[in-house]
Each structure stands twice: as structure tokens, then as C-alpha cells.
Symmetry: C2
Subunit: 714 residues, 2 copies
Amino acid sequence: MRTDLARFFNPRSIAIIGASQDTVSISGQPLKHLLSHKYPGELYPVNPKYPEVLGVKCYPSLAALPKAPDLALVLVNASRVADALRQCGKLGVPYAIVFSSGFSETGGKGIAMQRELAEIAAEFNIGIIGPNCQGMINPAGRVYAGFGSIFGADYEPGRISMVSQSGGFGFSVMNLAALDGGLHFRQMVTTGNEIGVSSLDFINYFIDDEHTDIIACYIEGLKDANRLISIGNRALEKKKPIFAWKVGNTEQGQKAAASHTANLGGAMALYKAAFHQSGIIQVDDIQDVIDYSRAFQCGKLPAGNRVAIITISGGAGILMTDECVARGMQVPQVTAATTDKLRDIVPSFGSLVNPIDVTAAIFSDLTMISRTLNAVLDDPNVDSIAMINASLMGDLAASVAREIVAVAKHSKKPIFLTWSARDSVATEAYAMLDAEKIPHYKSPVRCGRALSALSYYSQALRRADASRTVPVPLITSTDARDMLAGKTDDITEFAAKQVLARYGIGVTIEELATSREQAVAHAKRIGYPVVLKVQSPDIPHKTEAKAVRLGLASDADVADAYDEIVRNAKAYKRDARVDGVLVQEMVTGGIEAILGVTNDPLFGPAVMFGLGGIFAEVLKDVAFRIAPVSKAGALEMIAEIKGYAVLTGVRGAAHADIDALADAIVRLSALAIDLKDRVAELDINPLFVLPKGKGVKAGDALIKPLSAVDPAQG
Amino acid sequence: MRTDLARFFNPRSIAIIGASQDTVSISGQPLKHLLSHKYPGELYPVNPKYPEVLGVKCYPSLAALPKAPDLALVLVNASRVADALRQCGKLGVPYAIVFSSGFSETGGKGIAMQRELAEIAAEFNIGIIGPNCQGMINPAGRVYAGFGSIFGADYEPGRISMVSQSGGFGFSVMNLAALDGGLHFRQMVTTGNEIGVSSLDFINYFIDDEHTDIIACYIEGLKDANRLISIGNRALEKKKPIFAWKVGNTEQGQKAAASHTANLGGAMALYKAAFHQSGIIQVDDIQDVIDYSRAFQCGKLPAGNRVAIITISGGAGILMTDECVARGMQVPQVTAATTDKLRDIVPSFGSLVNPIDVTAAIFSDLTMISRTLNAVLDDPNVDSIAMINASLMGDLAASVAREIVAVAKHSKKPIFLTWSARDSVATEAYAMLDAEKIPHYKSPVRCGRALSALSYYSQALRRADASRTVPVPLITSTDARDMLAGKTDDITEFAAKQVLARYGIGVTIEELATSREQAVAHAKRIGYPVVLKVQSPDIPHKTEAKAVRLGLASDADVADAYDEIVRNAKAYKRDARVDGVLVQEMVTGGIEAILGVTNDPLFGPAVMFGLGGIFAEVLKDVAFRIAPVSKAGALEMIAEIKGYAVLTGVRGAAHADIDALADAIVRLSALAIDLKDRVAELDINPLFVLPKGKGVKAGDALIKPLSAVDPAQG
């Protein structure tokens, strides 16, 4: 597929297939908008019905064009799109935007029709955008290739580029952000059903586009989600933040997303994991895009997530503290040295505790502002400053802004401002701040949120740097690959744990017995007490079948238990294949965790961690990461779950071996990658996490081979 | 204390004590602002230094005034405030705003100085506002009695009244909401350290103020929080919504709140409970106040929380679905009859599944809009409609708005709109919507949030109506009161459960034994198996002392266990007073829950519910309510916790007796009220919740008498 999208955004000539003289209709609008915005290239309306449209010579067919256009806009009825595309292909048209609806979003026949379009695009190497989309705007190139009322406005070119799977929503963001929010766009493109050039293709292009500093996207579902992390990391390397709306966050929203674009919704948990792993910043509303863009335009990144809040309004300081802390920042105490410096400046009815309440008295002597800011900037506990100036306006506002600008010029630490004066009464002050790119917001909540986004991004950058230094270890095992080759049935405990062991994941000591006598012999070697469990591919729920016995302490007990288990297994399921009875060391004193692998059709292999029992089952308190996972990433996963305190010791319980647990997650993620063509799902449940220094042991495990899930993928 | 606040907001005369000629200083500003806004009453600057200030005759002292003013503004230094207030008192001044800082917020001497002000206010019955506050604005009365740059602007009178504990933040809200958001205020007052007239006094006044429709407040902490629910419920009765910022939501924010106003922060959980119980709507940012006010101004309340979303942008529809569902609304399917009607209107590439994607084709024939809206309004599954019109602008927008207005006029169900066109390109459309008070928002997220707020409020109203029909039962027990009279030590299990039993709360069958023989006799009567536990006020952690034995099944076991427990108890704590050994039925098959009472110094008695083990301990997964709690309220509490599924049966476990559990919560809340002068804290841990129909049984209980916590309150 074509990826040289510069030509798409800057076509030298455009054919409008199905151009109409009715400028209100969808097929009449693109030509009208291209003309009214003075598109500088050549325009070729194509419609056998007209000799000209809007004063532009109209051609009866694509074949009649004087030369192949760089871009075709396809506006004909769904049933005629395939034919139009084939003609484009024959002519060598590199890009086509298909506006027409009536494809996969309608189900039924539309799905087959859409498949045909994809086949034509592949055959002729056409970069298709759409179908069922609303077009593209490149203000700098005066390319307004689409329909909808917002195409009537003129947009100033800027440095944010956006791709949206929803036309209506995407263009409303551009319109409001640009004209009311002062945030200008380099490019805006909508992708609809996205059968050709995908959202990630566009993001990938924006990363290299020298005119783009910030990337935004609206995502319902990505068919190529497995590229998300690598593209996200490339954006991190190029220091281009990505803001993402991912909709379908609630179960019902997810359903709506599925019905809307006929995309696979993908599990929100995996999206969230992928965003986290690649520093992609989730946004909720249009205001976020405007506010966060302003934050990133300051050009400074905090070295850590510790903010000092300096305020003349105690109330606003508390609001901002709440917002920053809720979003993962710290509002730490400043050092004693800083406190001493502040004591000379702040009046006694202020507060020297962060949030630092300097009171409005600070404005009575302007040098106090620079003294305060410098004292706090010098503090080693502080990575950024958020200053709250309430509604300060007029000349005093201008003087205060001048002081702040003078300090900020020489500071590497970002300074953010909450300043509630309306634009018209602090014009001079705001102009000075804008010139120096000092972010300022009308409310403490918006300011705190934007600073937190910058801080989150900066943390992702540090994480990415660290992971380049310490690459994630890969493990390969031909043994394990061979063990799983050709399997279609579930791989049960004994065999599954042998696979785990190949990747260095701790498992219980155990042996398979096929007779009473062998069971006793194994038990003696392993040491009492032991556990006995049936091994059968036909009995996944061993406890339910009464085919598990715990804490067996003598030869006689083991012998009896052996018989009982085989008997119960047969009683539970008459024709169950019984491989034998597993004799296993009895693990005590550990905390039960769950580790899992899911080989997601969209994202590829991902790992899951949670605590056992109600944590995973009732509370869904689990953490996901797309594989591979580094040691640092695994530690983060572990700390992320709400039940984390269970591992660090509640009620005097021992601190669990979190280091070994993290190591097991890393190894499991390596397994997931090594066996990604063999394993559909893998569950370790329970994984016993023993006290610190004692490691972890898989107590039970189950592997669903890939072919068992979908033979086509096997 | 004075509560006739109409006179405070509409004073006929104002004395400005400490008026200054320096109009930039805090003490110089109030007179300047009162004059520039043409305050219609009499003004009396008081300052011995000047014969006149700003052309107004100045008096050397309060005593020299021609008559007592209705309101005094106190602007003198903290050390001279007490004297000024005393003079006010002698003169019979009913209200004083104390602007001066330097009181409890500075700690130390300031606390004592503040106490003195409160005493003077009480002695002379002065309604004090402040100290450490920023004043008040009543635009209709042209009373601009305060300082700060926002006092320079002129405000149009409106129908929202606000009280704020933070001056800087409160006035910035008013300024931005009024001048940028078109939301106009009836009154705005700030209360600072709030030693006199409290935020709740002001809210109470606003409820009865015929010029106020909507009330807003900014709260750091309420010293009279126990009035919150009754005042909230009075507001519900009068149908006046209250929007509340409660800051200090995070632990750190809470700390900041405490240091800022020296108010007791109060536990956020109790505030949230009280808000929920009285329909108070929490807001996060200024935009919420503007958006929610617009929602309430529509004058229609949804009869339930089910919304139908009608959209021309699939993407925006999903965003709104996410937002509504996340905020507790339902986006249900419409009936088959409605679907049939819509099938005739919506094109095949649209979607008939809620969110209903009607596509932009709906605008090609305007009658389709009214047909769609009417079809959905008629649906019995739908309580409100949210329609999304993307960026529709100009003449078409006006025609669409006309259709919507025509339908909305005759609908009792609220219709909300997301309409992203900028104000300047949909002027006519927006004017029509505004005239009909149809709420419209630029983004689907803001629209969904505002509709959810309206829905939450409407649900609170229904809850309040229901609770008037079925009043919460009160239970009194003189027995229980007597049992707790004069107690200072913890009341341990046996006695505590006897108290519970007096209120009809199920407890285990048990007897206290003081000898081996008695223990065996009790066990025989109760029936095997039994549990034995030491009873000692000196051993709160019985298990730790190895003074509990479970599952005793024979006379001999009981006899031995008796001796062992007494021995272990003495070994654990040599001089422990041992009341005896409790012989108790052994409860099996129940789910362990925790019930508690906390007699909060601010809120009074509150009840807590959670599940046992890690739910409460690690996850803090508990629900609070201020007592009394109705049966419906108790059921809501139970369903609110994240672990709720444990009670409804996970993995084939039995459905627990939720009805009996709710009944126990109601009874416990009645106990909490009946014994509020006796009980500081009460814990039932565990409460065994037996399978459906089998009730609940308190397995252990502990009461901390009130005098044990604070003798002053006893």
C-alpha cells in the first residue's frame, strides 16, 4: 500500500467522480469547496451528464481526462464505486477518497461490496481513504476535499494534524478548536470504514511530517492495532505527542462502536495498555485537545511528576491539588531551604505548605513574584510550577505577566498558569504569556489536567529511554515449540507447566503417576505433604469432578487418594481420557495470583496479571500489557492493581516476592512472543507468590493451542 | 443567629470601617466599587484620619454615625477587628462582613482572636460574614461590597445564587460564568473562615429566595455538616437544585483544605453520602455550572434515567453513550414498534439501534426530524432524548431548529441537543432553541454530562418522594440506653450483641460460661458444633491471643477448649480481666460482611457497609450513609459496592439474604440515632449474611462508648 501521503495531502490535480451541479448535495459540495477556497491545482469533474460544472470543464469518464490526477474523489452511488475505482486503477491514480456510504456499515451485501473495493485497491495499488467518510482538509495547500457545513469556513494552517474515523465528530473538533480555541491544524482527514489507508498509516505519516508537531486521532477500532505500540514509540522518539479519543469505553459504547463502523471493537483494556506503553495521551473532550496542545507548545518537559502550586487563592490551590493528585502527579513539600526563603516573602496569613498560598499581597511588590518563582524553581523537589493568579486584570496583570515571563525565559522547568481574567481585560498580559509560550488556563482544573498530561508524556519518554538502555530479553525454546506442534486439544497442567519451565517460570515439583504404586513412589521422592490431581484433557474443572486431593501426608493416604481420584473422574465423565494422576508438592504460605496470555487477533500476544479469588473474578482487578514486557513494566503492572497491598503485606502478613513475580511476567511475555503462532490462550491459576526471596510457583496451568481457536490462523 | 438574610443582601445603609483613600488597597476598594456601581443606599465611611473619602463624608467613629447601618464592612487590621465589632454591637448593627485576615488561618494567636470575634457576635447577635473573606455582590440591588479586580465589571442580575468559602475562586466563577457563559447571578457571597453566617445558612436562605432558581456552593469544610441533609432535602422539596464543589477529594487536597481555612475537613465519604442522600449535584469545573444550569433551565425532568440518542454522527453518538453510561444512565433499546416507525425514515446505512444513527439524510426532508423525534418520544422505554446535529449551520440549521422547537413544545420529556456549529454561524437556530429553553451544547461529552446531572437530580426527587411515603422507622430501647449508661471501656462481644438484639438485629445464639461445666451445659443446649471465645475488655484481638476455638463437636472438646482459652488469655496478657468464655453456635454457609456506625463530630451518626476480608481492608470497598437509612437506601448501599456480585452469587454460590441485610442496616441506623449520645463507634465484624430467606447473624461486635472517645461530649 502507498504510504507516501505527502502527495495525498498535496495533490497537483483532483478528479471529482460523480460531480453534481446541485451544490447542496454531497456530490456537489467538494468541487464547490475546492473552488471557493482557491485550490491551486487542476480540477477534473467527471460526469457524463454535464459539459461543465460550476464553470469547470466536466469529463464524461476518467479515460477522457488529459492526464491521471493525483487524487480521485469518488461520490457515485455505492453500487458504482467498484467500477469507478477500477478505472482509477487503470489510469494509475494513486489516491482515492471514497465518500459513498452503503458498505460494511449496512451489513449484508454491503460487506461483500466493501471487500471488492479492497481487492481492487490491492490489485491496482490505490491508496483508498474510506469508504463512508467525509474527506480531508489541508489548509496550507488550500485543499478542501470533502463535504459538510464546516468546509465553508477558512482555516489558518497550524501544526496539529488529526485523523478521525468519524467525519462529523472529527470536523467539528477542527472547527471549534481552530475558530474558537485558536488551535490551528496542518491536516485533518477522516477515514470512515478504513479499508485502505488506516488511521495508523496517517499517524505514521504525521510523525515524519516536518509541519506537524502534535498528532490527534479519534478511534473507534483499529484493524491494525498490533502496530499501535511501535508507531507510538516512534512518535515518542520524534517527540511528537499523540492525543487519542478512544471511544467505546463502556460496554454499551463498545457495542455502539461495533455497529457504527463494523470494525472489531477490540478490548478497551488492551487499548489502554497500548496507549500507556507508548505514551499516547487519552483525551475526553475538545477542550482537552486545545488545553493539552497549549501545554505541549511550551516546549519544556518536566523531569518528574512533582509540581509546586503557588496560589493567591487558597480554594483554587486545593482544586488544583485534587486534580493533579487524581491524575498521578505529586504535590510534595518543598525543602526547608525553600521554606526559609519563602518565609521572607509570604505574609503570615499565607501558607508555606504546598499548595503554597502567597496571598494577593504578593502583587504589592512585583519583585516578590520573581523571588518566589525563583526560590521554588531552585527547589530539587520540584519539577514544575503551577501558579494561580485568580482574576487579576488590566495594568497590574501586565506587570505580573512581565515578571513571570522574565523568570520563565531562564527556566528549564515548565511554569503553568491558572489565570481567570477574561481575555478582554487581560489582553496585554495574555499576549506576553503567549509570546513566550507560557501555558495559561481559565480554571485550575483545566490547568491541572493539562500539566498532568505533559507530565504523563514526559514519564513515557523517560520509560522509553530506559527501555532502550535495558532491552527486554527474548527467550526461545525449540523444545516448547515442538511440544505444542500440531496440538488442537487443551494442554493440561502437567504438559503446560513443562512448557512454562522451558521459559524459566517456576512450577511446582511434580510427577505423573499411572498407578497407585507409582503415585506413592513419586510422593516419597517429592516429600510429604503432597497434592494429587487427575490429568485429563476432558476434565478442565478438576475440583468440580472431585478429582483433587490436598495435603496427603502418608503413603497410605496417597494410595487411597489415587484410586478415589480415578474413580471420581470416571464417574464425572464416563469416557474421559485419563492421562494419569499428578503427584505434586503441596505449596503453602503463598499468595494466589493469576497470570495469563491472550493472543489477541488485533493486538497480538498480551499478558495479564491479577490476584486470585474475588480480585480477578468479581472485581476484574487485573492489569494488561501488550508483549513484550520489561522488568520495569512488569513491576508497574503489579503496582497498578487495586489489591496491590495484599502483596506488600496486610495485617502483618509477609511481603511477597514481587521481584520474582515481575520476573515471571517478563518470562511469560517472552513465551507469548516466542509461541505466538502456537498459543491462543494461556492461564496460570494459581501462581503462588511466595514470601520475599522464595520465588513463585505455578500451581496449575492450561494452554489453549492456537489451532483450537481458529484453524485458519494455525 | 440572624437568618433574615434578605436585609444582608439588600442593606439600606452600609458603614465602611477602615475606609481608605488609597483605592488600590483592599480597604480602599469597597467604597470605590459601591460608588461606581451606584449603590442606592447610604454610605458611611468610618476613619478618624479623613473628613471625607472619595467625596463621601467620613466619620471618626461608629458612634458618630447619624444612625445604625444595616451592614458594616470591617477592613481594619486583625488586632482591631474585635473592637470594631463591639462598637457595631453596641450600635445594633445587624450584619458585618469581616474582610481582615490574620485569624485561624495563621494558627497560634489568630485562633484565640477568632474565638473572641465569635463571642462578640453571639453577645450582640451580629450576623458575621468572614473573617478572611472577599465580600458580596448583589447585582440587582447594585450592592458590590467587596474587593478584587472582578468587582470592576458590571453584572446583569440572574437567577443563580452562590456561596463560596474561597473568595478568589468564587468570584472567578461568577465572572467567567456571567460574562463568558451567559449565566447570571442573583447573589454571590464569600464566607472565608465562616465563624458566623455559614454556607448552609446562605443556602437555606437561597432556598426561600423567590429570585433564586439554582444554588451553587464551593465547600472546603462545613462545621455544621449535620444540617446538610435536611437543608438538601428542603431544597429538593422546593425544586431548587444545588451544585456543589467539594474540594479536598484526594488525601492531599484534604490536607490542603485543612491548612487553608482551618476548618475540619470532614471525611469525603460522608460528604459524598450526604450529597447523594439529598440530591446535591457535585461539579468539577466552571463549565459544569454553566452547562448544568442550562440543563435545569429547560424546566422538564426525565421520569427515569433512560436516554435515546439520535445522531447524525456515529462517532459523537458513541462518545455520548460512553459519557451517559459512565454517569449512571441507561441507553436502552427502543421498542419494536418504534424501530418499525424509524425503519421508514432512517436510510439503510444508518442504525436503528440506540444510539440511533439517522445520518445526515434526515436533513433532506425536514418532516423526517419531527417524525423521528415523535416516534422516539412516544417510546415507553425512553425518558429523555439527546439529539446530535454535528456542525449544522446557517439557514438549514434554523429550519432544523424550528422543527425541533415545534416538537419540544408539546413534549414532557426533555430533549437535549449537541450542536457543534459555532455561535456566529447558527445564530438564528440557537436563538430559537434558547427562546424555548432547549439545552444545547457544543460537545457530546458536555451534553451527556449535563443530561446525566438532570437525571441524577430527578432520581433524587423520586427517592425523596418515596421516602416521604414510607418514613424510616425509628426504634428506641431504654434497655439498651441503660446498658450503655456510664460506660467508658469498650463493650465487647456478648454485651454488644445484646444491645444489637434490642434493635432486632440478628445475632448468634450464645451464652457466657464461667466454668468448664457451664461451658459444656451451654454447648449441649445450643447444639454442636460450637465456637468458644474469650470475653475480656482487655483482649480486643481474640484470635491473636489464641483465645478462640472453632468447630468444637463434643462435650470433651468444649471442656478442654474452655481451659485452654482461659490459659492462653492469661498468657497473652497477665492481668487481663476475663469475664468468661462465650459459647456460641457455629455459623456456616454465610458470606462475611461488615457493618459499622461512626458517630461523626460533624455529620452525627453514620452507618457503613462492606464485605469482609480484603474488600474492606485492602480495597476500602465500603458504602456510607448518614443515619437514618431507609430500606430503599440500604438496598442502594448494598448494590453500590464493587463486590456486590459476591452477594448475588458468584460461581454458582447461593444468593445471599440481601433483604435481611438491608433490614439490618436500617435497624443499625435506628440504633445509631437512638444511641447517638452513648455510642462513638460500633463494629459488627463479621456479620454473616446467610443464603436467601435465612437472615443475617452478627458473629462478633464491639461498641466504643462515646465517653471513651471524648469525655466532653459524653
